[in-house]
Amino acid sequence: MVRYILRRVMYMLVTLFIIATLSFFLMKMLPGSPLNAEDKLSEQQQAIVLEKYGLNDPVPVQYVKYIGGLLQGDLGISFAFSNTPVTDILMDRIGPSAQLGAQALVVGTILGVLLGLIAAISHNGFLDYTSTVIAVLGTSIPNFVFAGLLQFVFAAQLEWFPVALWGDFKHTILPTIALMIFPMATAARFVRTEMVEVLGSNFITTARAKGVSEPGIVFKHGLRNALIPLVTVIGPMAVSLMTGSMVIEQIFAIPGIGEQFVNSVMVNDYPTIMGTTLLFAALFITIILIIDLLYGLIDPRIRISGGDS
């Protein structure tokens, strides 16, 4: 198991290195520099600015310096906000994104599991039909469309919640709902399918035969088994949270990582774009690693086959 984890972490670092290299050279191919026409700098001043960003060095030297900086957690200096290191910008903004992401994931998954459970228990009944409709809508309607609807109805018209910006807990409610729809719908669909299958299996009949109470069957025997495969959909959920953070933070004007990324794209702030990309990549890869390890922990069959292959 330890060897397996070590090997996976190795793979992860190699992947990150490839992403860093790829994004570095892609960014070098793009036009644009920290200089802008409005500043009217003399040639000497331009040289000083370029020197500050290390842009006077040949590309291979810049590359080595960049990778060296990465190892120390230094993502370079932002073009748009002069003199601010990208690491600082991202650190300032990670809080709101993390809070929204965590709230959406936790609330969404719990609601989704409940929804799926209700659907499975009333298999082919009215509640089943309703929750299936919710699940289909949730996976189909793009989250930014949904966010717009929420913002318009609950913030602009009914004025129950603030329209945008970041502040107290009230500000997080609408963005959280918009973000959690996809995890909720995915979990609901998944749990329903699994529960229907589990509830039809032989060991449930056995449990019924020996007189286990209905809640006992549903929660102790059914749900436990149905929840195991749910771990596999955390990956797609994480992706939806990341794309969601970009659009939903933009819509609700939340000072998070996603909003920073979109704004950096607008002004060609390459160091920030690269920093954000690497952060997203690192997050995503770590999540996938945790899922794989978790899966091995929950389901021993996978540990055995995955351990020494």
């Binding site: 892609l26 793009l30 717009g148 992706v239 970009m246 794209v265 996938i288």
Partner: protein, 383 residues
């Protein structure tokens, strides 16, 4: 031995007639797997309805832009931000096609609120209907009036109809909506088909040949899969010039890996079956075995996967256009239209509503068809 008691006349001994054996007979006509799948699919009402809706949307995306006289980039600032107005439907006020702008305004007194309404709608007082909702008592923002601005009359355009209104540059939304749908669907279909071709070829080769070939191909794939799709797509969009081709390229670079993995797994399951051995014994080339024997047998799973790739592609296109990395104006796509709609959501909701509804309907339809196909191709589901 005495055999006297056993003298049954010979003529009574008749050969028992064998009854026709019905146990082996198939009562219903035999159906191939594909016929079975088709039957299950067409029994699924939601999937069939989605299919009809999609066909209508696709037809509309081609014919829609030609249905009125407005072009996709006919800018005219004098008719900017006109609300939706449709003949006949304009008389049913709650539908929102009557060509009026309306909103509620607050003020300290009813007069004050009315003044606010007038200043909002360029003081065209004769074309503004005011309905007082709350007289107010003079305190701050206590009074409320509902103002309805007949903008078509105010602009002296009673005979003009913008069915879904116009955007901030006075371009007809109906035309742009259907042009945008064409672009979005085109991107989705092309991306899905290219992903299908690459994925099936890659996965097919890896799965069929196995061994060293499989090892090398799968290691390459593992590295690619390790990099998050989102990151690759965003980087590609930054590097390539914005446009349809770049979006298709960015989507296909990541899109084929899922298909390749599934096809490889299925081929590995199928390749040891007798029919493959038979085909090879008869001297079929490897190419033919893959193309003629293996692929038709795994076509179900390929079709399902493609069906789910299409809505993903539509979503990513809209997402990219929404954050400003996708289609650029004057070209339209559902994503850019939604983006423009968001900029005007507080005052001109109609700009967001129609593209948002359309993209949701398209996504729902594709997902339902995908679900229907999955059920249809799953042998466990056939009854």
């Amino acid at each position: 031995m005495d055999r006297k008691d056993n003298n049954i006349p010979k003529e009574l001994l008749v050969l028992m007639k064998q009854k026709e054996d019905t146990s082996e007979k198939i009562s219903a006509p035999s159906r191939t797997f594909m016929q079975d799948a088709r039957r299950t699919f067409f029994k699924n009402k939601l999937a069939v309805a989605s299919m009809i809706v999609l066909v209508i949307i696709i037809l509309m995306s081609f014919t829609g832009p030609g249905m009125n006289e407005h072009g996709i980039d006919d800018q005219d600032l004098s008719v900017a931000k006109m609300p939706a107005r449709v003949p006949v439907l304009e008389d049913i006020s709650w539908l929102g096609f009557s060509g009026v702008l309306s909103d509620t305004f607050k003020g300290d007194t009813a007069d004050h609120a009315t003044q606010n309404a007038f200043s909002r709608y360029k003081s065209d007082e004769e074309f503004i209907d005011i309905k007082v909702l709350d007289e107010g008592d003079g305190t701050k923002n206590s009074a409320e009036v509902k103002a309805t601005y007949h903008i078509y009359e105010a602009k002296d355009m009673e005979d003009t109809y913008f069915w879904l209104g116009t955007d901030t540059l006075g371009r007809d939304q109906w035309t742009r909506l259907w042009e945008g749908t064409t672009v979005s669907l085109l991107i989705a279909f092309v991306a899905a088909i290219i992903s299908l071709l690459i994925g099936v070829a890659y996965g097919g080769i890896a799965g069929y040949y196995g061994g060293k070939v499989d090892d090398v191909l799968m290691r390459i794939l593992e590295v690619l899969v390790g990099i998050p799709n989102l990151v690759i797509i965003l980087l590609m969009m930054l590097v390539l010039d914005p446009g349809i081709t770049s979006i298709v390229v960015a989507l296909t670079i990541t899109g084929w890996t899922g298909m390749a993995r599934i096809v490889r797994g299925e081929i590995m399951k199928q390749k040891n079956q007798e029919y493959v051995l038979a085909a090879r014994t008869l001297g079929q080339t490897n190419r033919n075995v893959i193309m003629r024997h293996l692929l038709p047998n795994i076509s179900g799973i390929i079709i399902i996967n493609t069906m789910f790739n299409i809505p993903d592609a539509i979503f990513f296109e809209a997402f990219l256009s929404f954050i400003g990395l996708g289609i650029t104006p004057p070209e339209a796509s559902l994503g850019t239209l939604i983006n423009t709609g968001f900029d005007n959501i507080m005052l001109y909701q109609y700009m967001l509503v129609f593209p948002a509804i359309l993209i949701s309907v398209i996504m729902i339809a594709f997902n339902l068809i995908g679900d229907g196909l999955r059920d249809a191709f799953d042998p466990k589901m056939h009854k």
